[in-house]
């Protein structure tokens, strides 16, 4: 099926988009399970193991419970859907309703440019560079930065419209944090862009044929990872939900599936940022034999995303939360200077190599 016309493109995008969104939403559900289970194990616990186990009878009348908890996400979903959806009296209605939606949409948007695999012949025989909803966009990285900057709205509006002090404090904290770390992240993302000489994520992945940028630019990778954690509001940067101070930050007045949508957005963004980290620094869908069997790309991407998620959860289990002023000064006085200097060094090195003064 060659894609020639606009309508075919639209159909392709719709189909792939639907599939990817479905996959990621399912992934979201099981990421919550992964988080709960792994966190439990890191803390000597077992985690949820009641919903949906496979009973295997053993001798002696007892039964072993296999895969305990694999229906837990479904149970959570059912719970969230059937909880009472409360709307406080003094909220700004329209904004209050819009905020969760505005939070989820950017998370889904970023999906569009992520290359999940190389060129897969069964789906697209010709003309496509890699498998994504919108492949071959020449401003892919900018698109990501743009959409990330949009996602502040959900937080700000949720905080403001709830008409609650906790909520607005949480919202302002969260958005200040996101804006601060966006700078460092944007500057760091430019490092792979410069190395690959393109903003197309597929080209960036292909640029890592020889060596992952992680090894070429460990500092950039570290800064990106830290900034991504801050952007996701994950531990140790999860100030907005600092339970001790703000109860739950901007989500405090939300309940039921509206609250669930904030949750959904957070976990989808976790998956997406892990995928981005893989694309920028871990060689994306590339791995052994991927040139012969492009479909392997899905497996490699999934593996790398899984690895990233595990590291995120591990970090959450290990590190205590930052204080707010520490967070801000870390972002502005440490991370930003490091990324600026690193950026400048990389730029100078690239020029020197191109001028032939330095040779590799």
């Amino acid at each position: 099926m060659a894609i020639n016309t606009l309508s075919q493109l639209a159909v392709y995008s719709l189909v792939v988009g639907f599939i990817m969104t479905f996959v990621v939403i399912t992934g979201f559900a099981y990421t919550t399970l992964l988080e709960r289970k792994l966190l439990a194990r890191l803390q000597h616990r077992v985690g949820p193991n009641r919903a949906g186990y496979i009973p295997i009878p053993t001798r002696g009348g007892k039964e072993r419970k296999l895969l305990g908890g694999f229906m837990q996400p479904a149970a959570d979903a059912v719970k969230l859907f059937f909880k009472e959806d409360m709307t406080p009296v003094m909220v700004d209605k329209w904004t209050y309703f819009l905020a969760p939606i505005i939070t989820v949409i950017p998370a889904i948007f970023i999906l569009a440019v992520i290359p999940w695999a190389g060129f897969v012949p069964y789906i697209t025989p010709e003309g496509r560079d890699y498998f994504a909803i919108a492949p071959g966009i020449n401003v892919g990285v900018l698109f990501i930065l743009a959409i990330t900057s949009i996602s502040v709205y959900g937080v700000v509006l949720a905080g403001w419209s709830s008409n609650s002090k906790y909520a607005i404090l949480g919202g302002i904290r969260a958005s200040a944090q996101m804006i601060s770390y966006e700078l460092a992240m944007g500057l760091t993302v430019l490092v792979p862009v410069m190395l690959a000489n393109s903003m197309d994520l597929g080209v960036i992945v292909e640029g890592q044929r020889g060596m992952w940028y992680l090894f070429l630019q460990p500092i950039a990778a570290l800064v990106f990872w830290i900034a991504a954690l801050a952007e996701l509001q994950r531990a140790p940067f999860d100030l907005l939900e600092a339970e001790q101070e703000l109860s739950a930050g901007f989500t405090v007045e939300y309940s039921s599936m509206r609250f669930g949508m904030f949750f959904l957005a957070e976990y989808m963004k976790m998956i997406i940022f892990c995928a981005l980290f893989a694309v920028f620094f871990l060689g994306g869908y590339r791995g052994p034999f991927v040139d012969q069997v492009p479909a392997l790309g899905f497996v490699y991407t999934a593996l790398k995303v899984f690895l990233g998620l595990c590291v995120m959860i591990w970090i959450r289990a290990s590190l205590p939360r930052f204080r707010y002023d520490q967070l801000m000064s870390f972002g502005w006085k440490v991370l930003l200077p490091i990324s600026v200097v690193n950026f400048m060094i990389v730029a100078v090195m690239i020029v020197l190599v191109e001028e032939g003064v330095l040779g590799f």
Binding site: T95, V139, L142, S149, Y153, S175
Partner: protein, 175 residues
């Protein structure tokens, strides 16, 4: 330069958003409508084969400028004007003149467009490939490198200015 259907839908969204922005009572709602308007214009940019500018539009306008607006509105608690304020003399006159000028502007542009040679939209438009950031960057850093540096200085001046404006002395009143 775009399907008429696409243009129509986008144009209607843009105009409605602009109108709602101007007429909303609540400043936060105004800001949100303006964000919608900016997003629509960004889509226009994509339609006009300028994806880089579209992304800059979203990043800077929607992502930075409007968030700044929202911050200020929320921090000042200035969603709505308090009190009636001073009613200036000749309020009606002012409004009438403003409206008249607006109508004149649109009329003039419409008349000019209708009377233009080859009006009516049949003109052939030169095809332009989708702008790549590289091309734009080359122009920016070769032809316009001096203005580019000047904008850098401008931004620096703005940063310093803002810092001085909003700096509160430890003691005493505001500036």
């Amino acid at each position: 330069m775009g399907d008429p259907l696409v243009f129509g839908i986008l144009a209607i969204v843009a105009i409605v958003a602009a109108l709602m922005m101007v007429t909303s009572r609540n400043a936060v709602h105004s800001a949100l409508w303006l964000v919608l308007n900016f997003a629509t214009i960004a889509v226009f940019y994509v339609v006009l084969n300028a994806p880089f500018i579209a992304m800059v539009q979203i990043t800077v306008y929607a992502g930075a400028i409007m968030v700044l607006f929202l911050f200020v509105i929320m921090l000042l608690g200035a969603e709505q004007l308090r009190g009636t304020g001073v009613s200036s003399r000749g309020e009606r006159f002012h409004q009438a003149v403003a409206a008249l000028l607006g109508v004149m502007l649109i009329t003039a542009v419409t008349l000019a467009l209708m009377n233009r040679e080859g009006a009516g939209g049949g003109t052939a438009v030169p095809t332009m490939p989708i702008t790549s950031p590289q091309e734009l960057g080359l122009i920016l850093f070769e032809t316009y490198v001096f203005p580019f540096e000047v904008t850098g200085v401008l931004l620096l001046a703005a940063i310093i200015g803002v810092a001085i404006f909003t700096l509160r002395k430890k003691r005493g009143t505001a500036v």
